[in-house]
Symmetry: C2
Subunit: 552 residues, 2 copies
Amino acid sequence: MNRRIVIVGGVAGGMSAATRLRRLDEDADIVVLERSGNVSFANCGLPYHVGGVIERRSSLLLQTPESLRTRFGLDVRVRHEVVGIDAAARTVEVRDLDDDTTYVLGYDELVLSPGARPVRPPLPGIERALSLRDVEDADALVAAVAGAHTAVVVGGGFIGIELAENLVHRGIRVALVEATPQVMAPLDPELASLVHDRLKASGVDLRLGSAVASIGSDDVTLADGSVLPADLVVAAIGVRPESGLAKAAGLRIGERGGILVDDRFATSDPHIHAVGDAVEKSDALDGQPALVPLAQTANLQGRLVADAIMGRPVRGRGVLGTAVVGVFGLQVAATGWNEKRLRGAGRSYRVIHTHPADHAGYYPGAVQMALKLLVDPATDRILGAQGVGEAGVDKRIDVIATAMANDVPASGLAELELAYAPQFASAKDPVNMLGWVASDMRDGLVETIQWHEVADAVAAGATVLDVRTEKEHRDESIPGSVLIPLDELRGRLGEVPSGEVVVHCAVGLRGYLATRILEQRRGEGSWTRVRNLDGGMKTWLAGQYAESPSRP
Amino acid sequence: MNRRIVIVGGVAGGMSAATRLRRLDEDADIVVLERSGNVSFANCGLPYHVGGVIERRSSLLLQTPESLRTRFGLDVRVRHEVVGIDAAARTVEVRDLDDDTTYVLGYDELVLSPGARPVRPPLPGIERALSLRDVEDADALVAAVAGAHTAVVVGGGFIGIELAENLVHRGIRVALVEATPQVMAPLDPELASLVHDRLKASGVDLRLGSAVASIGSDDVTLADGSVLPADLVVAAIGVRPESGLAKAAGLRIGERGGILVDDRFATSDPHIHAVGDAVEKSDALDGQPALVPLAQTANLQGRLVADAIMGRPVRGRGVLGTAVVGVFGLQVAATGWNEKRLRGAGRSYRVIHTHPADHAGYYPGAVQMALKLLVDPATDRILGAQGVGEAGVDKRIDVIATAMANDVPASGLAELELAYAPQFASAKDPVNMLGWVASDMRDGLVETIQWHEVADAVAAGATVLDVRTEKEHRDESIPGSVLIPLDELRGRLGEVPSGEVVVHCAVGLRGYLATRILEQRRGEGSWTRVRNLDGGMKTWLAGQYAESPSRP
Ligand SMILES: Cc1cc2nc3c(=O)[nH]c(=O)nc-3n(C[C@H](O)[C@H](O)[C@H](O)COP(=O)(O)OP(=O)(O)OC[C@H]3O[C@@H](n4cnc5c(N)ncnc54)[C@H](O)[C@@H]3O)c2cc1C
Ligand SMILES: Cc1cc2nc3c(=O)[nH]c(=O)nc-3n(C[C@H](O)[C@H](O)[C@H](O)COP(=O)(O)OP(=O)(O)OC[C@H]3O[C@@H](n4cnc5c(N)ncnc54)[C@H](O)[C@@H]3O)c2cc1C
Ligand SMILES: CC(C)(COP(=O)(O)OP(=O)(O)OC[C@H]1O[C@@H](n2cnc3c(N)ncnc32)[C@H](O)[C@@H]1OP(=O)(O)O)[C@@H](O)C(=O)NCCC(=O)NCCS
Ligand SMILES: CC(C)(COP(=O)(O)OP(=O)(O)OC[C@H]1O[C@@H](n2cnc3c(N)ncnc32)[C@H](O)[C@@H]1OP(=O)(O)O)[C@@H](O)C(=O)NCCC(=O)NCCS
């Protein structure tokens, strides 16, 4: 008899495993069991179908049980839920959800790719809140949207934000309620604040640092007592690994609640394998367990587990968690660790903020982005990167993620040979520029100060020296700052404040040039330590808004 | 007295060196000598100014001698040409082009960044042909465009193509004459043919494999006797390193005509340094001398030579020649070696063609690109990549270039963790997909055949098996091919032709699936060797057009 491989979950990880298994073995008996009514659907497209951007529901269904039988000879059973695993007997118990019968199915190898399920907080009225995970959920949302004028989205993660945008796109008045002071946890606050601006400018009623107290029949009450109209409520406060089945079967579960697997995706039972959102990954930076519920990783692991089962060489790698999301025309992307996490872990790091244009400024249509790079000061290793902007952010984060995964040091970014023509990039690409700034810091050519350190420095006696133009200074300036435009600095060294000086400009470039002058002319005045405000006024302002989210 | 550093050429390499030198040394006496009337101009923007896309001439001038004096304390002298170098005396002879006087200027260190000059073939009437290199050239072209209705651009390289597009944009009827059978030498013919299609569809009268015989007062005569109307003629048949001055000074010149430098950019004279288009680089793949006249490299080298002069650690790297150009809405990009060059060098290689979408197909607006990857079969090393498409090509080539420069093997592309959301990429990114195909070939899961090998295989007795649908087969097919749609293949194994089989589909994916079935079912029929047509019908067709450029 042919070897039977049973797969639980027929979407990203599960179906990628199934098709690869077939390519490797025409003879295997491959059964895919899927609880929902569909397989191989585009989870990541669901919010856009709700918003009407992806018009046809059928676009979301990349394959059907029939097409998978025809093309891959797979036995795909939708609305069949695995309700138990007998690891010793190598069987699963399956419930046919249509006729509510159960049966037992034997396997030689079992693959679990059950994904993750939306967290549903135990709030009064939570039953009314919809979640978005599969096609049925999307159908329910589409139906609910039809009659709705107002909506509250609870949770400012990737999915919550995508939903907010898509509901606005449907003409619905949307409030987004987020319990922490910022949306999008992978971003640090001063970058998240750019996303906040965009959400508000797009008409979203953004409620940061707000907890939901209860959900009423047509409204939502927040902990501060305010009441938001809500024909529709969506809960999008994160996902948890769907590891209940594995746990009940006695498989080892990790400290973060995901199924534990080795680097060949075997669980604690050698004939049971697991991949995707349900498993704990190993963090690329510190090797610690990590939950990274992303499609690319699930798909990759699906293919790898097929190879492992077929006895081919396989070795899962640590994950960076590279991700991107669109927010009302903004690209928001990140890879690796952020500053919050580095600080929390007590690691030392350098921070670099830049605001380059996506392509040459002299060519029409260039737009500015905000980039942030985190660097290990001891080793020059890249620890993480984030970007927010209307164009070109995805490219830079992909390049940096590629560099990170292959141990390119931060200063090595300067030497990457990237394609340049004025429509597409700059002759000194934003990625190269991060590398130069990193090397200047490594070499001690400049010392920088972060936006959140300025107030303390000033309190301790430092003076802020603005080296922008008089007009820029007049338009908006850091309170108490002294103006000497960069182009006059060499002639006005006598006016440079004494003691510690924080130099700043708009984005950090002129400030760097001024810092270099002051460093080299130290004997000619009474200034002592000179630090350049990293990211300039732009980052400082974004930081101010981040710290007091109620500001406009 | 302060150390004097004299720089010849005040644009990409030269001015990047000058500003970095100033950042490192406030005291140095830095003199920049520039023959043309401008410094720090955007060479790469010149074609777009000619086309009116970059409307204002001033946008091209990133800095002026005055702004550079004010900001960087540089002594910048435009219309000052260096006409001689006395290396022993450490002086240059300078001609002031305005009053035609000369003077001698001493230096402690000399930096040459004189760039490259357009090749001007010795054709009858060549005096009338304009070239494009500096702002004065652009001014002359703008003036000439004003009265012109017809133009002939000679040369189908990056600049020739950009000029053709921009002249069309000005409403001029443009013929592009290229002596070789294809435009854009960095591309292989089957990718170049996509560019040909776009040029023709955009109204360019494309004359491939055509030599210019002579240039008349209002026309151009080709070697085949045809006469093209030409109010305007532009010569853009490539550039040569501007190494005459260096040669006359007795500096070592390389076999390719560029100035020879070591990996700290010193010439054969230790006080004379050189960077940019004028120098020979070392090829990243084989370490051989290479001419790579690109802005990013010139800028990078400019910064590195400043560091070298200041005694800082510097080590120039080999170059890949990563480049991109826009062609009437297409992005055309490449890095590393192409197949022509690998074949010419007698190196063995594997070829992979794919046709992925720039982002998820289920999200609106996805467009297909053509990608080509070249791999060393012995080591799995990436040798080069090319791409043509309307979106997302620049990103993929940048990621691959980053991987190449850091010795990521071809199959390692599969594991790069790239950012995915449906607007920006696919969960299996095109770069990942290239990695998978490369690993399948490495592992012997599939044997492929190239578009240009099919005819010979058929002549030797192979049968072409089309596994697309009946409709696709009817619309356009490879002559003599037999149809068995993939989804019927398992049931119709008895109909598979005997002997050698070339399987094909539209892009290679279904062909790969069919190949896997036939490989595993070999005993069940009389077929022998099975090969998948790499890149499918799309690449095969592009190849046919490339071989007979006169086809529509
Ligand atoms: C709305 C939304 C948007 C997203 N957007 C993005 C994005 O832009 N980029 C990105 O990288 N990722 C995105 N993701 C995440 C991505 O979809 C997941 O990381 C990926 O699908 C995980 O793959 P998986 O195979 O682990 O789980 P899933 O794809 O979720 O598949 C698991 C399947 O298993 C089934 N199942 C569970 N338990 C059982 C059982 N006991 N018996 C039978 N079947 C069972 C479930 O019904 C489910 O269909 C998004 C997810 C959602 C929900
Ligand atoms: C029209 C055009 C489009 C281009 N597009 C792109 C593109 O999209 N992407 C890309 O990567 N590259 C592009 N390039 C190439 C890029 O501009 C060059 O690689 C880069 O400018 C080389 O820098 P460089 O410093 O070596 O020489 P240049 O920037 O050319 O500067 C050399 C300068 O030296 C001066 N000079 C020469 N001899 C003397 C002398 N004896 N005395 C005084 N001065 C002297 C010249 O007048 C010239 O201004 C383009 C070039 C052109 C002309
Ligand atoms: C649709 C689905 C079944 C496809 O799985 P798949 O067959 O592994 O993926 P693809 O169709 O992209 O094919 C990839 C295979 O074709 C090969 N291939 C791709 N392009 C090729 C080409 N041009 N020439 C030759 N082979 C090619 C790849 O190497 C790979 O084969 P391998 O794994 O044996 O190396 C699965 O991805 C799925 O269910 N997806 C939907 C769910 C999902 O991903 N959700 C989250 C994101 S929204
Ligand atoms: C305009 C020109 C003089 C600028 O040269 P430059 O000063 O080296 O370049 P930039 O203005 O981009 O500044 C780069 C410097 O600022 C630093 N920098 C950039 N952004 C920064 C930021 N946000 N914070 C701190 N420092 C920053 C970089 O590290 C670098 O300094 P370093 O080299 O000492 O490390 C020169 O590029 C030029 O002449 N260009 C036009 C010609 C040309 O390039 N043509 C071909 C392409 S069209």
